[in-house]
């Protein structure tokens, strides 16, 4: 089974991925609508895994839906809710159903979400999950037992290029690459000069980098992220730019900013591609792509 996403990563093209969020409940209309909008426009669709530790329809179910609808799913898997048995089992299941891309994440704390009294599992971490995939591919499980039928995945992980302090994150990044990550999605970046520095470093490693772009929906939202989201720093000039938009039109400014950034990343050939996150406003991704003059 060939991963179309992997093919795209290895081609010379500028890769674009995005993401959809499974619903709180069983009503799949909205996620189906988002998948429909994105599936022919992007090279891969991430399905988030109980993002911000909020219990939802599973990412595995969302990934199957993408597959059934003819899209290319990138299954997000966190280590927060499953131990090593459950994670391996879900990887076997995903592979058996044609899902061939996985993004390995440690996962937010349980305390970020809506089941604050639950037990966070963290039996493994993101780098160990990447290594687990590579082991399963060799036909062995983590216990060293033979598998009757192995897996094959395009496996990736994440990095936060604007973290403070940065070096501990870079050490973890190197461990993820050594463990076998083929691609790295970054946390949202807003300062392209900083990102250039990061890429000068990252280019030493055999890994494809997709720059994370989060749609800014208002000045207030940008300030909120600066205050509350680790590793996200929206510069003041962008906040000011969002503030200049007429009332109710900040989102258009946000689309313009995201489009402009993507265009620069592409023109300057800073990295393999971008991962567009329009949290809660997934229907706007095609507009962001138009603003970026993509496909």
């Amino acid at each position: 089974m060939v991963s179309l996403f992997k093919k795209a990563l290895e081609s010379k093209k500028f890769v674009v991925t995005s993401e959809v969020a499974p619903p709180k409940g069983t009503n799949l209309e909205k996620i189906k609508h988002h998948i429909e909008l994105l599936k022919n426009k992007v090279d891969g669709i991430n399905i988030t895994d109980h993002q911000s530790s909020v219990m939802r329809y599973p990412s595995l179910g969302g990934a199957l839906l993408v597959k059934e609808m003819g899209g290319e799913p990138i299954l997000q898997m966190t280590c927060r809710d499953r131990n090593r048995l459950a994670l391996q089992a879900d990887l076997l299941f995903a592979y058996s159903r044609g899902i061939s891309n996985v993004l390995c994440l440690t996962g937010d704390s349980i305390l970020m979400g809506d089941h604050k009294e639950a037990k966070g599992v963290f039996d493994m971490d993101s780098s160990q999950l990447v290594a687990t995939i590579r082991k399963l591919e060799k036909g062995k499980d983590l216990g060293g037992n033979d598998l009757d039928g192995a897996v094959s995945f395009c496996a990736g992980a994440i990095v936060t290029p604007e973290a403070n302090p940065l070096e501990p994150q870079l050490i973890k990044f190197e461990k993820k690459v050594e463990a076998g990550a083929e691609f790295i999605q970054t946390q949202a970046i807003y300062d392209l000069d900083l990102f250039k520095h990061f890429m000068e470093y990252a280019e030493q490693f055999p890994v494809k980098v997709l720059a994370g772009v989060i749609l800014l929906t208002s000045a207030q939202m940008a300030r909120f992220m600066n205050k509350n989201v680790a590793g996200v720093n929206v510069p003041q000039n962008l906040i000011d730019e969002l503030s200049t938009a007429p009332k109710g039109r900040a989102i258009e400014k946000g689309i313009e900013i995201a489009g402009r950034m993507i265009k620069k990343i592409r023109k300057q050939k800073l990295c393999t591609g971008v991962h567009i996150m329009a949290i809660g406003r997934e229907e706007l991704v095609p507009e962001i792509m138009s603003a970026a003059e993509l496909g």
Binding site: R80, R84, T106, G107, D108, S109, L111, M112, G120, F122, D123, M124, D125, S126, S127, Q128, A131, T132, L142, I158, V159, T160, A163, N164, P165, E167, P168, Q169, I171, K172, E174, K175, E178, A179, Q187, A230, G231
Partner: protein, 217 residues
């Protein structure tokens, strides 16, 4: 010194636990819970007055020197006449104390405290968790800072993406263990240790319940 860090249960929970128990004997401890002001003489006196106001009968009270010590058996024996009069024991010690007492006395035992963690006083009135007794010590590779205990997620391969300015994503009053480890290893010129990949941890080194013999049986 290693300490058991405790917190008082809420009055509401305690009322519920004491439902149907009319005559109560109260036990505190002179060691860890005295230091944390959760089960020393003042707290025993305070709860005694509260219970009397609620119409309970307090048959007696006592503050053991070290509740988890073997001598506890003797002290309880000396107080057996008052203990025998009670329907239940309200115990303001950590869970070690509660279990030590429960083994000695055939009475309903009600813990008045929740045991939060085993740690130490690191500043005036500040207590920090130090070790979770995981059974496979990693301190040799982490500059003497324990990520299994001090990282919220117990990560052994470096920080998560939630770390912010050296603090943890769950609470800006809590340090990011991996920032501490990084700084320490950098000072020691041993960042190579942090770059070493750690396999998934063996969580069954000593399967619960822990048991250990000096002489293998």
């Amino acid at each position: 010194m290693i300490r058991s860090i405790t917190q008082k249960k809420t009055e509401e929970e305690l009322d519920q636990l004491l439902t149907g128990i009319a005559r109560i004997f109260i036990i505190g401890c002179g060691t860890c819970v005295t230091m944390t002001h959760t089960g020393g003489t003042p707290e025993v006196t305070e709860i005694k007055e509260k219970l009397l106001k609620k119409g309970k009968l307090v048959t007696g009270d006592l503050v053991l020197p070290v509740a988890c010590d073997n001598l506890t058996a003797e002290v309880l024996h000396e107080n057996r006449s008052k203990i025998d009069l009670a329907d239940g024991l309200l115990i303001l010690t950590c869970a070690f104390g509660v279990q030590t007492i429960a083994r000695q006395v055939k009475k309903t035992t009600i813990p008045g405290l929740d045991t939060l963690f085993i740690g130490k006083e690191t500043g005036l009135g500040q207590f920090d968790e130090i070790c979770t007794q995981c059974g496979s010590c990693i301190l040799g590779e982490t500059g003497g800072v324990c990520p299994v205990t001090s990282c919220h997620k117990g990560l052994v391969n470096g920080p998560c993406g939630g770390t912010k300015n050296g603090k943890c994503e769950i609470d800006e009053k809590k340090d990011c263990a991996w920032t501490l480890i990084y700084n320490r290893l950098k000072d020691l010129n041993r960042l190579d240790l942090m770059k070493r990949y750690q396999k998934p941890k063996n969580f069954q080194r000593e399967p619960r319940p822990g048991k250990y013999w000096l002489t293998p049986t």
